[in-house]
Symmetry: C2
Subunit: 427 residues, 2 copies
């Protein structure tokens, strides 16, 4: 799947796009946008512009045209992967051939003036827990000597999240109220969360469908990944601590989950596959149904991750956002293919537009933790910010931004766009 | 809401319906059915017949007509409750007035010849855990002295389930495979579940919508219950035991959840509201956000529940199904209104067609347990069946049927129809 559309020297006639941090012509993410005063439609991002693919459908592969007419990506991601590859090739040709500029340019809209929407009607949202350093950091807060539970290295642990409260980047986070019981509380109380946190995750958008009762073999699982996004799994740690036993997180998580709106396609990510890091000495091998040599060779992704924070005071003082955390998607203990195969191993059906979260991705070093719960050691060690403030958890007015970049030597880096949100006071 | 449509003496011209166990004219459930060789449409059940409401739309309230044209109930349950009450009145009038028989009768289809479908496109499915005797029975298997966790009597515990694998009654259950690790296993294995179970639950279909960030006060929560169904939350106990920590059940539950296809409407259930049983002496009072005097007075439902089993050998020998369990929906520690209010208390948005399960409803006596895990005491005490067989968990060929009846003195009892499924071998 690495072809001419990944040529680092490829250039587009769209002004400024070749130098764009996120969206050079080698990226061509898919999403849903609205131009000013107009209706949502399928588009791609090129530099600082949104290109209306619905309006250009007659220039694009016939097999994709009916799907391009709907302002959601579900139908497009119900098609086989080769149809989306053909679409990528066609868009790439239009944007790199200066002779097509006259036909295409009228359908470019300045991104700053466009609204970006959820790319899919989400059927189901599942959140995994494959960030082993996150699982270790969180586990250590509860069980210092034995942070990982016995199933962790055998089972790609996951659970169901709430699809209805997934929203695109920019949606404000209203501080949730909930039932909680602090260590000094004699009884639980209903109050705004005081331990509001982010979680840095990648999201995978499912393509294709398996029937209920049919599982997806590991060797075919990558075909079911339509593309990726950033995912902020906002969490209320105090609500979570009180509610989560025995059935897992519920209201601590389902008040909002934010995604970056552009789908970084499987096709765009082809050059960025890298070997899955070997398991540490002594770790068990995955069971057969989760084992595939090709997946071990190229099932991980060279994606750098970062989180920035700016408080209201910092913005008022003209201070730039501060980087809270920097990490890498290679810190996942299980691959995306293993997540898909495990999820369907009991016959569970996955459909186009389902969202799989990786779980929080943390590294092993200070400053690579993907949540404030970890950065502040369970709220005991405040993080110092420019301007003299500090944080253990999020305060009203804080703006959090996740970003990601896929990078490999010899290839043009591509960005994921941003996943941002500002904390608003409880209602 | 108790009006002439609940008159026990009301009679319909539809042959046999007045004596029907489930669907007399006082019930009028809503659902989606297909006549032989035809397409799905909205209907009601009357005796042994399905009435095509889409075809009769011109005789029904104008406010419901566009919703009746779609073969899903989502649009109808997006309307305010009074619109569905008006629809009930109109259907009742057509079926009780013999002078309308000529217009209506051509749109009756023999139920035995119809296919019944999922009534809604389900956005999200949430399963609660409000059957306190079930929670106690299961907890006792793990913690004999302290079966209920500290949060149970404060928090209506719930978690997210899988919407894509909810299916109507009659869908076969393919025995799931999964990762499990028995007490005598040195390492986990991937194998068909050997501890396959049912769970007897009620399901509540959500009506109306709250915006993300807006909660539903307890006094308004019952307006958000569109109607009820039976729900069998099939469970693989061996997969569950190995996977569920720390994030809750996942593949142990999401291979199939079966619902009875007719929606027993909020309007039909009006006569069957009863006081919520008082909490045992010493139990904490619910927090204010979950407290409402009217809900305490009439937030429970007088609904009898039953589960029958027939094995392949029993059917081959001509033996009738055996009743495994009989119970009552009044064994719920939290009301449906408390479930809705708690779910939205953090601003989580619920939409028409969302499904809330109650969790397994068990009673306090032997023979009232809503799962085989409880009936067989964790698999240690096999249940004896007619014909000499016994069961700890479900075997291939077993057919399980859930049923429910709403009953109150002075009112015509109404049934929920059945929720049935046969276990098929693993693939």
């Amino acid at each position: 799947m690495i072809d001419h559309t990944h040529d680092a020297a490829a250039s587009t006639w769209v002004a400024g796009a070749d130098a764009h941090e996120h969206f050079p012509v080698q990226n061509l993410p898919l999403g849903i946008f609205s131009p000013v005063d107009s209706t949502p439609r399928i588009g791609t991002a090129i530099g600082d512009w949104c290109l209306d693919l619905a309006a250009l459908a007659s220039l694009l592969p016939e097999t994709t045209r009916s799907a391009l007419a709907v302002p959601l990506l579900n139908a497009l991601f119900a098609l086989p992967p080769q149809e989306r590859l053909a679409l990528r090739h066609a868009i790439f040709a239009l944007l790199t051939d200066a002779s097509r500029r006259g036909e295409v340019e009228p359908h470019l809209h300045r991104a700053a003036d466009c609204a970006l929407h959820l790319p899919f009607q989400i059927g189901d949202y599942t959140d995994f827990y494959v960030g082993i350093h996150h699982a270790t950091n969180i586990g250590r807060l509860f069980r210092p000597d034995n942070p990982l539970l016995p199933n962790y290295k055998h089972v790609p642990i996951g659970y169901h999240g709430r699809a209805s409260s997934v929203r695109p980047s920019g949606t404000p986070l209203v501080r949730p109220k909930g039932q909680l019981k602090g260590p000094n509380d004699a009884a639980p109380r209903f109050t705004p969360s005081q331990r509001l946190d982010f979680e840095l995750e990648l999201g995978a958008w499912i393509a294709g469908e398996n029937d209920l009762g049919a599982s997806v073999p590991i060797g075919q699982a990558w075909d079911r990944i339509g593309g990726l996004c950033l995912l902020n799994d906002w969490s209320a740690r105090d609500i979570q601590a009180w509610e989560y036993q025995p059935l897992g997180p519920f209201l601590a998580k389902n008040f909002l989950s934010s995604v970056s709106p552009w789908v970084i396609t499987r096709e765009a990510l082809a050059p960025f596959h890298v070997p899955q890091p070997p398991r540490p000495e002594g770790d068990p091998a995955p069971l057969d149904y989760l084992t595939d040599e090709a997946d071990q060779q190229c099932g991980a992704l060279a994606v750098r991750l970062a989180v920035t924070l700016s408080t209201r005071s910092m913005r008022d003082a003209g201070l730039p956002p501060v980087t809270l955390s920097q990490g890498s998607a290679t810190a996942m203990y299980w691959t995306l293919a293993q997540m898909v195969t495990h999820h369907t191993s009991n016959g569970c059906n996955l459909a186009p537009g389902d969202l799989l979260g990786t779980g929080t991705i943390s590294g092993t070093t200070r400053g690579s933790e993907g949540s404030l719960m970890e950065l502040s050691r369970g709220g005991t060690e405040p993080v110092t910010l420019p301007g003299g403030e500090s944080r253990t958890f999020l305060e009203d007015g804080d703006e959090l931004v996740l970003s990601a970049t896929a990078e490999q030597p010899g290839y043009r880096a591509i960005g994921f766009g941003l996943c941002a949100g500002v904390v608003e006071p409880a209602r």
